[in-house]
């Protein structure tokens, strides 16, 4: 990037400031405000007060924050690099399983079978010792490392194979879907060593705090918001850098970018791995808040649903992905908990169809498009027509 005087004076702050435009700052401030206010209103305001936020709302919105981070990770690769992954739920779940394994090891002798080392399901299966892939998960830093490493390595291997042989478009979508399907089948097996059908659950505490306690839930909520802000800043930083410009070039004209001398595979691979790590973190924050992780999280349908959040909000906008995730999931909660439960799938299906047909830019994308057109019109009125305004860029496939 061009080194401006301020950037050379503040080597890290420069790109960071550039990464956050006005909309970005507003977004960060809103998420930060929610991340601070909601836990405070939950913990400090007495339940009788109208300002009190009930604990279940904290848990629910904590879940939305994790979904939003997942949506962000999908938007990064789909909106900016044109990679439609229908298997991002796999990275999300793997992060979740890594965290779940730490939480399982924390149960210790408090399980039903009171085995000091083995989780209950292993005792039940008559296993004598801990399988090697469970080693080290009693340590929180190790578990955190795995939360990033497992999805990251899988994405690296998968992406390296796929991008190198130029598997693109719908073919890539189909094999990512096959990947998450294969993982789902594997995790459903008891002898795979991750609790089979039932998954991992009955968590007791995290870092010594009870996972059920109000304070822990509030802290997890704040952490999820923090992770969302960090994820957003990282994504903004990536997409506003020169690297990000190449990504968009790959999205819009892959072959031309390659002919210009860029190693398209490396760009795709890096952003795919980064996205997988973000999805892993989202999964890791999700598991202690919902209290369970099981193989159905790998279901291909979940991954496709996450894609529609991004499409609703607007791909290639980042804030749109977050907005879409929260909106769709809020709608899902309101629908499935009431009389309208049987109609949720109609609505979700209609959402898929209508958004792709009528709102291909998504909510935020459409809004930005209108705003840009308004500005242009005003500029055109103010200045004489001596130049033709460039057409607004449209997200390509």
């Amino acid at each position: 990037m061009a080194a401006s005087p301020s950037a050379s004076a503040k080597p890290f702050g420069g790109p960071l400031i550039r990464a956050l435009d006005r909309g970005g700052v507003v977004f960060v401030l809103i998420v930060a405000a929610i991340g601070i206010l909601v836990p405070l209103l939950n913990l400090l305001v007495p339940p009788s007060s109208p300002l009190h936020v009930p604990t279940y709302i904290v848990a629910l919105w904590g879940k939305y924050a994790c979904y939003a981070l997942l949506a962000l990770s999908i938007d990064l690769i789909w909106g900016y690099c044109g990679i439609l992954s229908l298997g991002h739920g796999a990275f999300f779940s793997l992060g979740g399983y890594a965290m779940g394994m730490y939480l399982m090891r924390q149960i210790g002798p408090r399980g039903v079978y009171a085995d000091p080392v083995l989780p209950d399901f292993m005792v039940f299966l008559n296993w004598k010792e801990l399988p090697f892939f469970w080693w080290g998960f009693q340590s929180f830093p190790y578990a955190l490392l795995m939360v990033l490493l497992v999805p990251g390595v899988l994405a690296f291997v998968f992406g390296w194979l796929a991008f190198r042989s130029r598997v693109t478009g719908v073919y890539l979508s189909i094999i990512t879907q096959a990947m998450t399907f294969a993982l789902m089948l594997a995790f459903f097996r008891n002898d795979f060593g991750f609790g089979g059908n039932n998954g991992l659950t009955d968590f007791k505490d995290i870092l010594g705090f009870n996972v059920q306690a109000q304070g822990t839930r509030a802290a997890l909520f704040a952490l999820s918001c923090l992770a969302l802000i960090l994820g957003f800043v990282v994504c903004r930083w990536v997409v506003t850098s020169k690297f990000g410009k190449v990504l968009v070039a790959v999205r819009d004209a892959e072959s031309r970018t390659r002919f210009l001398g860029y190693r398209v595979e490396s760009y795709k691979l890096f952003v795919f791995v980064l996205s997988a790590c973000m999805a892993g973190v989202a999964g890791a924050l999700y598991v202690p808040q919902v209290g369970i992780i099981n193989p159905s999280e790998f279901a291909p349908a979940n991954s496709i649903e996450a894609v529609i959040w991004v499409a609703v909000g607007g791909r290639g906008t980042l804030t749109g992905a977050v907005l879409g995730a929260v909106l769709v999931n809020y709608a899902k909660t309101s629908f499935t908990s009431g009389m309208l439960a049987p109609y949720w799938l109609f609505l979700l299906g209609a959402l898929f169809v209508l958004v792709t047909l009528l709102l291909p830019r998504g909510i935020v994308g459409t809004w930005r498009y209108w705003a840009a057109q308004q500005r242009e019109r005003r500029a055109a009125q103010a200045a004489p027509m001596d130049h033709v305004p460039a057409p607004a860029p449209r997200p390509a496939e």
């Binding site: 042989s165 073919y171 879907q177 594997a186 894609v307 792709t356």
Partner: protein, 527 residues
């Protein structure tokens, strides 16, 4: 020794007359074990059609006699006793009925008599059953009866079973000669199935060297034979699975291949076809029960039309606005699949619906050591028929010609006057219709529930991608390769691991050949 008595009498072959039977029957009324024993032998030897019923009644403890009139009757629960000779209910039952008593010696005699009677039974099925029972029990006592029955047997299958039973007995009989045992091993070797193998493997120790050697070579031969049959059976299962995959994927191959449209709602078309079958069968059950065997034939065109019309509607209503945007087509059709699933769930309920099998599709037959069920056989034939007719449509009809033209070069085809939009709609309708008739077939082997389609969609896509897009032969080879590979992996890896292994293999394969096995060759660089 009872056997000998029975056999002595059997071999005499008394004419099937009333006199010996009546005389023997009188022995039951004497109320002494010796007389009863003689009576059993007599009745068994009489060849009378009621003999088996009388011996059976004796075993059940329902044979009784009247000490005063010496009449022998069969008690029949609460009903009036029956006359032992005629089997007719007695108008006036004797007041002083006493049960014919049996002891252990007599029980053995009864069993032997029953065995001999069934080995000689007029019905071939019964004789077969008796021979199989001897084969399993390897009861040396049955040997003489078996010999007699064997000499008289005319049905070749029963005869073979009897000689096998005899071989089993000989092999385990401690005092059988070495030559007998070697002959027995030869017979069992010819039988060549698991039961024969088990008999050979459990041969009692202390047998002569030659017998052991013959046993070992026979066991090896049987094992090799069984392995061959097991492979054949696996290949058949694979063929059957492959035909199911082909059936589910073939419609997809058309829409994906010709139009480049990823139709995620394809599985739902299969499901709709299955539900059409269900509705047709319901109508037939309530209104025209006689037509039940034809229900699938009636359902086929209806399923094709229903799914095809829905397909055309989807293409005209949604997909045509999304051409050139395959990823968005994928999302939109996924949405359609959710809507269709939920619609079916609302109409028919979330539970599995019962679809019956017509009589010509139920049951199975044995081919050597293989079991082949008729429904699988029909599905394989049906799939091939669908494949061939689809090929014919593509090759021989005007629609097929235009479809191929559009596949190869859309713009050129349009310039030649082909209405590509109409071809697109018809192609999509054809692909969906084929999915619909696939649903009719799959309703016979899978649960008909709103989730039916979901379980096929990923597999179908993998078949199409593996085989190569835009090439029906590729889809055929892809489906059968995946089906057979899956079934051959299952014995080693288990069903789930085998499936995972296949998925991983396909993912790796696509890296190697991103356009599938039989890719259409083109010179254009992709966008």
């Amino acid at each position: 020794m009872v056997w000998l008595t029975v056999l002595a009498l059997l071999s005499v072959q008394p004419p099937a007359g009333a006199a010996p039977f009546d005389d023997a029957l009188a022995g039951f009324a004497a109320d002494s074990f010796d007389d009863t024993d003689a009576a059993i032998a007599g009745v068994a030897a009489s060849g009378h059609p009621r003999a088996a019923a009388v011996i059976d009644a004796l075993r059940e403890g329902s044979l009784a006699f009247s000490p005063s009139t010496k009449a022998v009757v069969i008690r029949d629960g609460a009903n009036a006793p029956r006359d032992a000779v005629t089997g007719q209910p007695l108008a006036a039952a004797p007041a002083d009925l006493a049960t014919v008593r049996v002891n252990n010696r007599l029980r053995r005699a009864i069993d032997a008599a029953m065995g001999a009677l069934t080995l000689m039974a007029p019905d071939a099925g019964q004789r077969m059953g008796a021979a199989q029972a001897v084969f399993r029990s390897r009861d040396a006592n049955a040997l003489p009866a078996l010999d007699v029955a064997l000499a008289k047997e005319t049905d070749s299958r029963v005869r073979r079973m009897m000689s096998e039973a005899r071989a089993a007995v000989q092999l385990y009989k401690s005092d059988a000669s070495e030559a007998d045992k070697l002959a027995a091993i030869d017979i069992l070797r010819a039988r060549g199935d698991r039961e024969a193998l088990a008999l050979l493997a459990n041969l009692p120790s202390g047998a002569p060297e030659a017998v052991i050697a013959a046993r070992d070579s026979a066991a090896t031969a049987i094992n090799a034979n069984l392995a061959l049959w097991a492979a054949a059976q696996n290949a058949w299962y694979g063929l059957s699975l492959g035909s199911v995959l082909l059936l589910a994927a073939i419609g997809l191959a058309i829409t994906f291949g010709v139009m480049g449209v990823i139709n995620m709602a394809h599985g739902e078309m299969v499901m709709i076809g299955a539900y059409v079958t269900f509705v047709v069968q319901e109508v037939i059950r309530t209104s025209y029960p006689g037509l039940f065997d034809l229900s699938l034939l009636i359902a086929l065109p209806l399923a094709f039309l229903t799914a095809g019309c829905i397909g055309v509607l989807i293409e005209r209503g949604i997909i045509r606005f999304l051409y050139g945007r395959p990823l968005e087509t994928l999302l939109a059709t996924w949405g359609i699949s959710l809507i269709l699933q939920q619609a079916v769930r609302t109409m028919f309920g979330p539970t599995n619906r019962e679809v019956g099998a017509p009589s010509w599709m139920s049951g199975s037959f044995e081919l050597g050591q293989m079991t082949i069920t008729y429904n699988r056989l029909w599905i394989v034939c049906f799939t091939l028929a669908v494949f061939v007719s689809l090929l014919a449509v593509l090759r021989l009809t005007r629609l097929g010609l235009e479809m191929r033209a559009v596949t190869q070069n859309r713009r050129m085809a349009a310039s030649m006057g082909i209405r590509t939009a109409r071809i697109d709609a018809l192609t999509f309708g054809l692909g969906s219709g084929i999915a619909g008739i696939a649903g009719v077939a799959l309703s016979q082997i899978d649960n008909v529930s709103p989730n039916l389609g979901q379980s096929y969609i990923i597999d179908s896509f993998l078949v199409v991608v593996f085989g190569g897009v835009g090439n029906l032969w590729g889809t055929l080879v892809g489906a059968f390769t995946l089906g057979i590979a899956n079934k051959f992996l299952e014995p080693f890896a288990g069903a789930v691991l085998g499936k995972i292994f296949i998925l991983v293999l396909i993912i790796l394969f696509i890296q190697k050949r991103p356009r599938g096995l039989f890719a259409l060759k083109g010179r254009a660089v992709e966008a």
